[in-house]
């Protein structure tokens, strides 16, 4: 009996200890690099902007070793699978650590995703630096999980060279919280084979470029007539539809929201212009029959339709090269031209990614992160590291079978030598007929094309509401566009702008 009891007690103890061990907080005191003596880098004096440090973010600030002077930063978005991308990143890490022996890079394969972001942030498990989309910048600052980078960027002079259009995204109350990683302007992707079949290619390999949305519609009708394929579409679900509808609406003269003198946001898109923009989408299907049969399309399905030759034209950015490798599309079948003009404006949407440094990080870690960005090619100054990173980026794209030929939108204010060098490399290493992208590449520096950043607050929520409008007009021939827009504006005001006055 006593033996039985002894076994019971032992078993119960072992299982309890194992369970508690499994539930233990690993973010609080454990070192990210296994070092023995670590300073807590989250004291307020070490934070530049006085940004409140959340209890859960302390782990990221523990990389500075007091005894050895080693600064450790964990870097998110690390490639997780074997291949050219991982090899490139590893070689950049090696070169970086050779140059800066006092800095250690800890790879972290986590990439920003709202599903895992808040739990990781609350547990103090965010990497020291990682990228996120422009649209999430406000949320992260408001949550207190971003650390200011003003001092570090001022020291290297980046703050003066950044594209002014990006300043509203990366800064708040005079403090810079983010470093832009890349940006893009949307254009129109087209399938070269379909264009050839429809007689829409010129002899020099450039496409016929529509000047207006009406011209684009005419081209879509020709595609449908001559090839039987859908000519043009926009996605309609998972917020992708709203995202791509906004530049169409802007070109019709729509302002989606404005802030009054009291700081309150008002939905301002219940207008005739927005109704006309929605009517344009409706007519794609019901008047002109150029839309695919399936109207519930998310961005993945949208790109698949395009890459598998079922759709002639899509709205996209430089990321059009990605589905080429995913669906093994011939890179020479991909082209991109500039956004057409609407009745009021010729405008494209400016999107992109920004580097964030987690709020518990030390000054040394921020400096180390900024140094690291140079090694992945993000710096306004050309250096061996930047030139090498750019060459590696091109080589990786070639190795992964992506189309090389699309130039980059600038994150820098002027025509920096870094951008010029990148564009030269693109031209030299292009694996496609570069004329397929000529119109788009030229539009990046064309002053007649406006670029506008995404809506400032509740952008994703607005996209979701617009998705519903798109689905309805494409599903119901008799849908009342004016009523839908009126309802959408009221819904956006009541459910989001009135509730989330400050955050986005």
């Amino acid at each position: 009996m006593s033996m039985k009891k002894g076994i019971s007690v032992t078993l119960a103890c072992i299982m309890s200890v194992m369970l508690l061990n499994g539930c233990g907080d690993k973010g609080g005191t454990e070192s990210v690099n296994g070092s023995t003596e670590i300073t807590s880098g989250s004291t307020e004096s070490e934070n530049e902007g006085g940004q409140a440090v959340n209890e859960g973010t302390e782990a990221t600030g523990e990389g500075a070793e007091a005894t050895t002077g080693i600064v450790t930063i964990s870097v998110g978005n690390w490639p997780s699978t074997e291949g050219a991308s991982l090899d490139t990143r590893e070689s950049q890490k090696k070169a970086f650590e050779e140059k800066y022996s006092e800095i250690k890079i800890e790879p972290d394969t986590w990439a920003f995703d709202l599903k895992t972001y808040y739990p990781k942030a609350a547990a103090g498990l965010l990497p020291t630096t990682y990228t996120c989309p422009f649209t999430e910048s406000g949320k992260i600052i408001r949550s207190g999980y971003a650390r200011t980078m003003t001092k570090a960027l001022q020291e290297v002079g980046y703050d003066k060279l950044l594209n002014e259009k990006l300043m509203d995204i990366i800064s708040k109350d005079g403090e810079i919280y983010y470093m832009p990683e890349s940006c893009y302007a949307l254009g129109i992707g087209y399938n070269v084979s379909i264009f050839e079949q429809a007689g829409l290619m010129n002899e020099d390999g450039t496409p016929k470029v529509p000047a207006t949305w009406e011209d684009l519609l005419e081209m879509a009708k020709i595609i449908k007539e001559k090839t039987g394929k859908a000519g043009f579409a926009i996605p309609t679900s998972n917020n992708s539809g709203g995202w791509l509808f906004t530049p169409i609406a802007w070109s019709y003269g729509v302002d989606f929201m404005e802030q009054d003198e009291n700081g309150k946001w008002k939905a301002t898109f219940d207008t005739e212009e927005c109704v006309k923009a929605l009517q344009f989408v409706r007519d794609l299907k019901w008047e002109n029959d150029v839309f695919p049969s399936n109207i519930l399309i998310d961005n993945a399905e949208y790109q698949k339709l395009f890459a598998t030759g079922q759709l002639g034209m899509i709205i996209t950015g430089a990321s059009i090269t990605q589905p080429v490798s995913t669906y093994e599309m011939d890179p020479n079948d991909v082209g991109l031209f500039a956004m057409p003009a609407g009745p009021e404006r010729r405008v494209s949407l400016l999107g992109g990614k920004i580097y964030t440094v987690s709020s518990g990080s030390t000054d040394e870690q921020v400096d180390a992160a900024v140094k690291w960005y140079e090694y992945v090619g993000v710096s306004p100054y050309i250096s061996d590291a930047v030139a090498s990173a750019q060459q590696q980026e091109i080589d990786t794209a070639l190795a992964e079978g992506r189309a090389v030929g699309v130039e980059k939108m600038q994150i820098w204010n002027e025509d920096s030598e870094v951008v010029q060098n990148y564009n030269r490399l693109v031209e030299e290493n292009a694996n496609v007929n570069i004329n397929h992208f000529k119109s788009y590449n030229e539009s990046l520096t064309d002053p007649s094309l406006e670029v506008q950043v995404e809506e400032p607050v509740c952008a994703q929520d607005l996209y979701g509401i617009l998705d519903n409008c798109l689905q309805e007009v494409l599903n119901n021939e008799n849908a009342d566009c004016a009523a839908l827009i009126k309802n959408a504006a009221e819904q956006f005001q009541t459910n989001f702008l009135d509730v989330y006055a400050e955050g986005n």
């Binding site: 119960a12 299982m15 949550s143 679900s237 049969s293 519930l296 998310d298």
Partner: protein, 291 residues
């Protein structure tokens, strides 16, 4: 001696209790507690009482989403509740190939959920490549919109859910049917009862307990439907298939509104707690009757 025995029992239960505490009780209780707070990510900032609940229920789409969820439940009872009973009765009456049909009908249960959703997504695909449209094409009928048709989207999703889960329900009913004493049927036959009367007066009363429990269980399960609208329609068209569960997911993981997600979880919890209490009450009654 009795105390010592109890001590040993509790000692052995500690790991399980701890696991339950960390994995189920604590998250549920914290979820309810935090739903009364203004949340910053997963940090509770300030007690705001019922503010989150008010905002969730004031959402202009809330009533529509609640009604959609009720539609899922009603359609699942119409489409998914009766067929497994009928199939179980037929199987019970069969003499040959019983094992074969049991296996075939159970196969969809073994498929991963996402596979079933994608399979049905392509069966319903609205162009000429969708399976249903291919079949209709043979009869000269134009391709239909299927899931893109706001009036059909919920019943069509429920059909796919039923196809996946029907085998398990059918086996449950079948085992209940197997446990009915054959003498009851013999007595009914001697009294001149035909097949319908035997079902009405013998079969149904004998399996009513299981039927009732399955009914409540199905209501609870379907009320939480989320993955199917997320995968097959994205909640569309124009919100016609969005459910409370999917809206909760949207609050938490698309919009990052944790407070609202917790409040909506609290509202669903109240609905489900009532249904679950009813379930346990029925279960208790049935067990008493069996005893």
């Amino acid at each position: 001696m009795k105390l010592k025995k109890k001590f040993s029992a509790w000692l052995l239960m500690i790991p399980a209790l701890l696991a339950l505490y960390f994995a189920i009780w604590r998250p549920q209780i914290m979820g309810i507690v935090w739903s009364f707070f203004k949340m910053n990510g997963y940090n509770a900032e300030e007690f705001v009482g019922l503010q989150n609940y008010k905002e969730v229920m004031a959402d202009t789409e809330f009533v529509k989403i609640l009604l959609n969820t009720v539609k899922y439940v009603i359609w699942s009872l119409i489409i998914g509740f009766i067929p497994p009973v009928i199939i179980a009765v037929i199987l019970n009456e069969m003499v040959h190939l019983k094992g074969f049909f049991k296996t075939v009908l159970y196969l969809p249960v073994m498929l991963p959920g996402i596979v079933v959703m994608l399979l049905w997504y392509y069966i319903y695909y609205p162009d000429a490549s969708g399976l249903f449209n291919i079949i209709l094409g043979h009869f000269g009928i134009e391709p239909q919109m299927w899931l893109s048709n706001a009036n059909l989207t919920i019943p069509l999703i429920v059909i796919s859910m039923t196809w996946k889960s029907m085998g398990a329900s059918m086996l449950l009913y079948y085992s209940a049917l197997q446990s009915i004493n054959g003498e009851l049927y013999e007595a009914a036959i001697l009294d001149g009862a035909g097949i319908l009367k035997r079902i009405r007066y013998v079969t149904l009363p004998q399996i009513s307990g299981v039927l009732l429990l399955s009914l409540v269980n199905q209501i609870i399960t379907v009320f939480q439907v989320m993955e199917q609208p997320m995968t097959m329609t994205g909640g569309g068209p124009n919100g016609a298939s969005i459910s409370l569960g999917y809206q909760l997911y949207q609050y938490a993981f698309v919009s990052g509104r944790i407070g609202h997600a917790l409040a909506l979880g609290g509202i669903m919890f109240v609905f489900l707690a009532i249904a679950t209490a009813f379930y346990f009450y029925l279960n208790h009654k049935i067990e008493q009757n069996v005893d």
